[in-house]
């Protein structure tokens, strides 16, 4: 599948997460994004440095600013199971706005055309690092890193598209 690009319709898919009462939920992407302005950013792996120390904190810090510009949802997805995503989300005590959703079998990542083979790092199939701005299911900005860098997919970069 070709990587998702500006002008594409965001595909639907199912992600999962635990709620505050520790109940497991399956979530449809379209149910979160239809009729709304959403940011979806993807990371290669929970508990890995750039993801944990730079990419996620950037969106948590800028959440207020993003919401003031009309963003309804800020969603972080990773190819990890929902137990790991919950544990990782819990390390961000100050987070109120970023939703951590699990794409455990990389199905949604495949639908976006953003899968990345990180087998040699002991990670298996993961997601590329990216950030999308989506308005009523239409992709308005698609900032996708080519490798392990962190040059185009930050919160600051997507703020420029708003």
């Amino acid at each position: 599948m070709a990587p998702i690009a500006v002008g594409d319709v965001l595909p639907d898919g199912t992600l999962s997460c635990f709620d505050a009462e520790d109940k497991l939920h399956k979530v449809s992407v379209h149910s979160l994004a239809a009729g709304k302005k959403v940011i979806i950013f993807g990371v290669p792996g929970a508990f890995t440095p750039t993801c944990s120390l730079k990419h996620v904190p950037g969106f948590i810090e800028r959440a207020g600013e993003l919401k003031s510009k009309g963003v309804d949802e800020i969603i972080c997805i990773s190819v990890n199971d929902p137990f790991v995503m919950k544990a990782w989300a819990n390390t961000y005590l100050e987070n109120k706005d970023v939703k951590f959703l699990a794409d455990g079998s990389a199905t949604y990542t495949h639908a976006l055309g953003l899968e990345l083979d990180l087998g040699d790092k002991g990670l298996g199939t993961r997601s590329r690092r990216f950030a999308l701005l989506v308005e009523d299911l239409k992709v308005k900005a698609a900032n996708i890193e080519s490798g392990g860098e962190f040059t185009v997919s930050s919160a600051d970069d997507i703020l420029k598209a708003l």
């Binding site: 999962s16 929970a46 199971d81 929902p82 790991v84 544990a87």
Partner: protein, 201 residues
Amino acid sequence: MATNILRRAASSVITSKTGSLLTGTSRRSYASVAVGIDIVSAAHGVSLQKARSWDEGVSSNFSTTSVKDIFKGKKVVIFGLPGAYTGVCSQQHVPSYSKNIDKFKAKGIDSVICVAVNDPYVMNAWACKLTAKDVIDFYGDFDGSFHKSLELGKDLSAALLGPRSQRWSAYVVDGKVKAFNVEGAPSDFKVSGAEVILEQI
């Protein structure tokens, strides 16, 4: 002791059989775990990834540890579980081993190993969270190849975990399995805890 092991083996999901190579065809054989098998031959060529931070991964060039290096010439107690950060694994399985570590040392065990189908960075963060990293060696079987070679893989997609492993434990001396226990269901915790295997050493 032998009857105990047989009783557990009979109640386990895996039936004891050994695969064999057919003459004239090349076919990978998978041996299921049972007392007496050589784990190094069964998981021939397979490696695990020691739990570590990403920086440690980079500085070690993402090196892996072969099954041979883990088991050859050592007395090892190894237990496998469905997933880091999940209920029974976190609250019962790992603590049962970490709090009994002195008893294992007293019986001459060189290492107590916990393995799961998770990447080594998640295993590392989990091991730190459970404050068990200095007593148990945590390894990731990130692509499930170790568990697949031992026929201990289990599809847990229904629990949104994907391909994982059974819940099991084994006592292995110089690569030879001396005791082996596997739960009837991965959510059970009846035969794979530390108290059971301590009796079998």
